[in-house]
Symmetry: C3
Subunit: 332 residues, 3 copies
Amino acid sequence: MSPSPAHLIRLSDLSDRELEDLLDLAGRLKRRAAAEKLQNRSVGLLFFRGSLRTRTAFESAMHQLGGHTVHLAGASDFWELEAAEGRVMDGRAPEHVKDAAAVLSSYVDALAIRPPMAGHSWASDRRDEAIAAWAKWARVPVINLESAMWHPLQALSDLMTMKEALGDLRGKRLAIVWTHSPTPASPAVVHSLIDAATRAGMDVRLAHPPGYELDEEVARVIGARGRSYRSCDAREEAVEGAQVVYARSWWSLADYGNPTLAASRRARTHGWKVDEDLLARGDGARFMHAMPVRRNMEASDEVLDGPRSLVVEQAANRLHATKAVLLKLIKG
Amino acid sequence: MSPSPAHLIRLSDLSDRELEDLLDLAGRLKRRAAAEKLQNRSVGLLFFRGSLRTRTAFESAMHQLGGHTVHLAGASDFWELEAAEGRVMDGRAPEHVKDAAAVLSSYVDALAIRPPMAGHSWASDRRDEAIAAWAKWARVPVINLESAMWHPLQALSDLMTMKEALGDLRGKRLAIVWTHSPTPASPAVVHSLIDAATRAGMDVRLAHPPGYELDEEVARVIGARGRSYRSCDAREEAVEGAQVVYARSWWSLADYGNPTLAASRRARTHGWKVDEDLLARGDGARFMHAMPVRRNMEASDEVLDGPRSLVVEQAANRLHATKAVLLKLIKG
Amino acid sequence: MSPSPAHLIRLSDLSDRELEDLLDLAGRLKRRAAAEKLQNRSVGLLFFRGSLRTRTAFESAMHQLGGHTVHLAGASDFWELEAAEGRVMDGRAPEHVKDAAAVLSSYVDALAIRPPMAGHSWASDRRDEAIAAWAKWARVPVINLESAMWHPLQALSDLMTMKEALGDLRGKRLAIVWTHSPTPASPAVVHSLIDAATRAGMDVRLAHPPGYELDEEVARVIGARGRSYRSCDAREEAVEGAQVVYARSWWSLADYGNPTLAASRRARTHGWKVDEDLLARGDGARFMHAMPVRRNMEASDEVLDGPRSLVVEQAANRLHATKAVLLKLIKG
């Protein structure tokens, strides 16, 4: 990882070797073969947006390694923080990230942050300025718990789960299928997943309705490594021959910050769900979803509870992937 | 306790022998004679409604046993969860209890839950569907931290406190007296108390104004064990000859979900409080209350602070009862 | 410290010797020379008002000593508490501090409290009745995490920081300069700082616009020890020859509870900030601020980030000062 302090903001921060080492460590931790400990160490968790899985997995990972967590919730425990430099701070933010980061760095051994998103403009939010400011000013490792653009811990756990299920991933086909939901999420999970899967040598296909294209940065990152992924018009085409079908609902970047347009576009996408028929078009395809999942809307009960589903395994691996990251970043 | 994973939803889940074992263990833990540990174990606490005593007792119990807690508050940390099966999830709940329970079970060693109450219809809330769904889907023990119907940890602590004060409880008389409060609570504490006290062989008398009858399930549970409790019209009659007077304000199940009717009924109940005169009608009666208590409205300062009061002891025993439950459920 | 249980409500609770011992211990803990442990001990944190630094420093201090914390937030985890005695509790508060304090004392080893402030009348809030009620009724040590009047943990850390930077503080000059901010804080930090600094033998000068006089209790406490501090009309006069310049924005006690008057008075105070020019008037003066700080409004970036700034060191010392207090109060 990068020079001291190491951070984990996106998987691109890791070399291939570092990524492989992390996955190996996560596997050993899952089998309880690792003895490293974080006794009396603390991590500060800053959640500017709520969380169930990420927060519980993270706190339990730290506890099982012998350490502690301090949970700070944006709504109640802290205030708006200024990220721009050199400004006269006469606005709403009474404190600068520079100061909050320096101070918290003297209390804890790492900072894990789910940064805020303003929600007005994708051109602005896609810059991930809040998490970048924390990484710039913190004197301890910063772990990204899902920014507008990236969700590296989810992708680590997804990669780990696919390797457990399929072995060597080179040449295996991953179909990412957009799903309809009244409460879509950020594309961060899919961005990081494509980053991880192409790097592992997978053949990635993507299917979504018009207007749900991913951020252009993804193609740039993947392309720079000589990899590519392919968009398909029909989900049937994407699933054809796939070993993994990964369902996810994300919002339209084109309509970002415009709820009326977004709802109108979404009204035309009913039927974008994964059922047994679609799954059967794969090559013995396993089913994945990062949750939360709207049952019988994004995916049918039969798929979610069926023998091909990896959704619980995939969520459970969040614990082990997080432990590996904590040990690597705190102990080096 | 029931087959793996064991849960504690209501005291009726326990055999007489299991209940006795739990109380013995709680007593040993109070005297620090037990050495069992829950090192590096975690419990997830899910509070859909606030708490002071339950939460602090629970977290401290876990800490003193060497373990950790993850506290999730309904208001900020998670969303509405669907409990019904087979439904198309197009409503407010973005996630199913089935999935949340499976996932959290892979992160923590037990789940302690104070479930939500819709508050509209007693016929619906009395079914305790939320906690039942968690118990059905969790793969680790589920501990009920007070549902609409039951509050087993409070009753365990109440039973422990009465045994410490009175020794063998068989044939001893317990008077449960309804009290007036602008903020009454659920009848769960009283339901579980009657369950516990009749099982211990106590003679239980209950006094309350008209319209404050308990849920019929209580009579059914107690009757099935060949026990009974008796309702009295006057609180003086209930207290006569009692060794314990237990005060508690609970809402009218008849007016449930109708605040106007409830307030109107409550307006006729001023004077339902426990003072020295009432307590003196007992047989050297000790005074109990599960708190929070409105002083000089539900019970006088003289009673609460007097030599017969067990209220602090009773609250303190929550710690030891909780430890016993944690050890039994997690270690078996 | 005072008889069992010891509390820390204000520095005046400590003898000179006890204060010195605390600072020595904090210094040893900073160098990791102390081995005392608080294994399996818990502290309850009750925040009736939000916090970032205090809360994280406190939780991490306890974790690094091997112990745990239970964090209770006023907004969500508990309700209004009655502090007056003998009253019929028919109002909003469903519980009395007397009962909450007695019960929590049986679960944790100390209670650290940031009490509520009603905000209507300084004559009332200055009495610090809430924290006094907790100290009266708790059966474990109570630590004041900033009341209306005092912030002892901040002052301990400030004193420690000045000693590290300047050595023996006798005769050294401390200039406290009021700063303009749209969100001023309570004068508690400055009250406790003057208490600590005069006791250490420093020559304290204070500069603020008209109407920002401190509470009269400060002069009384300092005077009783034969010390004094001096108010200056101009900040240049206060800073002249100072070894430390301490910036802080506090609200006008004269306008307390009257936001319109307060805003109108504050509108005339633009320009009350610390910049390089002002700092240069000192005698090689170091710069301090308890944070949060509004950059380029209260103090310039050049001052805050410059070589004379102690602001991060000062915040970092909160950790060590808190550890020393925890060890002294819990272990004795």
